[in-house]
Assembly symmetry: C2
Homo-oligomer: 386 residues x 2
């Protein structure tokens, strides 16, 4: 049995454990708030502190990119951390992310890094309006993002932005990345894995829908070969550059027939949860396989599958369980408005059947709790009925 | 979160937990040897004795039919046991099983219950040779079964049989069921579920292959409608008669176009492990749904799928993981000759692809550890290639 320590004790570590147990993996989770190693599914069981967890583990990985840098350094010093601290940090800092994209010549939105008033003015000069300003480090609750549609807003935005930077408590200096807003037709993401032997496998591109800035629905279905190839090429370039090991997700804006990278996440990803039901091997198992040096499992799409996030709710009507092919994935978390509490996976033998089942699901679920689902399902049904 | 206590702490309880966690079920397992309630996946964690486990549980179920009768009585007295102790006991006593089959007028092998020398003589008179004698209660290591091909063997067999009965330490009197051997073409089994509301759902019939009397391979693929219907009818009759709640498995002998019941198991079953990968909802989740009063999940076959048991081995070559659609299911048990240590699930988009993958698997696995697999895979490939 191989022992895996996951930095972070949320739903991603939980699902790594559920996928890892059948593969004979002993997965434990490091809860950064309590500084203890816990059972990922039954966190009531505590196994000591980080040092002990590191000593016990065969391999260490992360379920989120905002791990404290000293923690990453300690883990990396053990020689067990995969992916590398460099890869994890890139996911947590938009400046590093942009540097990586540029160094790999990967298409992305035109941007300027802002660290001073001069940079800010240059950004307005160099980029076309509208511009979106994003904090380089973690933002939260919609903070750390500003949209500029007219230069009249410049003074106000600069004021807010410089206050925001000044208030940062991060050990790493906060900064801003200004991006020219992209007139995209949709957002898609690619989840894939690269193992310790350099073997790569990517899942089909997933189409993502957001509600108030949070992912609400992902759909995986057969997709145009040219888009899939573009995304796979980007995945190969980035992961090779980083000598990346594990699952990595890339979010893209689709503009015409071109994909521009929006951001990358050095971990299993919400837009890959559908793989638990719709793919030969799920992203959680492939992450474990990758970091354990095992062959990657096939990422083949078994049948069209959608994932619906459950936000801020700790129950849904039991009747949804009667919908064929529907499985619930609760995270056993305390209810909090907007919090990711679980997700629903649902499949069909073709997209029409999937769309019909999504409509049936939306009819049962509460409109307030799933505000955009009914509309999405109806549109999707009309699209695939043609 | 609903709390489930499973009587038995083996792989079936383990897989109920892995399937139950995403459904927001807290599954615990009662280890009869240590008389403690433990975590089904991490049995290092102990939660007290049976009385405590019963008090904490919302619903109690069993992963094996040979639970001590006083334990069943205690659990039933709590009003939480599903299926009923009667149903569980029937699975543990061939006499009760035969009574049930007869009372439901379900086709099965001609038989005589033996409790005395007179019964024994009557069995030889009433049944055609060859006859198989099976102990009514649990046999082990091939003990408790005798085959008679000629009446010359009668004296010897009776001697062994009466010694065997005399040595029984069971509180329930041991007995023997004599069965006329059935010239079957193959063995198939039906796994299905019935929930607290009387809703029934059955999986497609599975074809089973045994090696030295132990299940080695099960294959689930589209099957003749008339056989499926016969089996489903038997399932409906038996479960209604018992007011059964949970998953139940029925093993059949196929003779021509008729199915004769061989035996029933009042629980999730080894021949249903393929459902983890090949069905809309796996048998473990459906068992939990059934006893928790939730709607049953669809039992639809997503794609042809086989299950290969791992007996007496605690490792297989890593390269098997490179076969598409293949997943490992280890039980984290100590290695012991012949012991069920895990299983492999493998699928194909059709039977031809499945058969090709089984051949690839057999080519990698050790012949000694999987003695009949290569031959089975070759035959299966030749059958589906036609």
């Amino acid at each position: 049995m191989k022992k895996v320590l996951v930095l972070g004790a949320g739903q991603l570590a939980r699902m790594m454990d559920l996928a890892g147990s059948p593969l004979n993996m002993d997965v434990k989770a490091y809860d950064v708030r309590s500084n203890t190693v816990v059972h990922p599914v039954a966190p009531i069981h505590v196994y000591g502190d980080l040092a002990h967890g590191i000593a016990e583990a065969d391999v260490i990985t992360a379920e989120f990119e905002h791990v404290a840098h000293d923690t990453l350094a300690t883990c990396e010093a053990s020689g067990k951390l995969l992916p590398s601290s460099q890869s994890i940090k890139i996911g947590g800092d938009r400046r590093l992310e942009k540097q990586l994209l540029e160094s790999c010549q990967v298409p992305n939105a035109k941007h300027v890094v802002i660290e001073s008033k001069e940079d800010f003015e240059q950004a307005i000069e160099q980029l076309e309006l509208p511009i979106i300003f994003k904090s380089a480090l973690e933002g939260y609750d919609g903070k750390g993002q500003w949209r500029m549609k007219s230069v009249d807003q410049a003074e106000n935005i600069w004021q807010e932005m410089s206050d925001f930077i000044a208030q940062s408590k991060s050990l790493v200096p906060q900064g801003i990345v200004a991006e020219q807003m992209v007139p995209f037709s949709r957002e898609v993401s690619l989840v894939g894995a690269r193992n310790t032997h350099g073997e790569v496998a990517v899942y089909p591109l997933t189409e993502n829908h957001h509600t108030s800035g949070v992912l609400s629905v992902s759909v995986a279905a057969p997709i145009q070969e040219n888009l899939q190839q573009q995304a796979a090429d980007v995945f190969a370039k980035l992961t090779e550059k980083l000598n990346y090991v594990g699952v990595l997700a890339i979010e893209f804006f689709q503009v015409g027939e071109q994909l521009l990278v929006n951001e990358i996440a050095p971990r299993v990803h919400n837009s890959g949860h559908w793989t638990q039901q719709g793919a030969d091997t799920c992203q959680f198992e492939n992450h474990i396989r990758a970091i354990a040096g095992l062959p990657l499992g096939s990422t083949h799409l078994v049948r069209p599958t959608a994932m619906v996030n459950i936000l801020g709710e700790d129950t849904v009507p039991n009747e949804v369980l009667a919908i064929p092919s529907l499985t619930m994935h609760w995270y056993d978390k305390e209810k909090r408005a907007g919090r990711k509490m679980g997700h629903i996976n649902i499949s069909g033998h073709d997209e029409l059947e999937l769309a019909q089942r999504l409509v049936a699901l939306a009819n049962i679920l509460d409109d307030q709790a799933f505000p955009d689902l009914a509309q999405f399902a109806k549109k999707y049904l009309s699209r695939v009925s043609k």
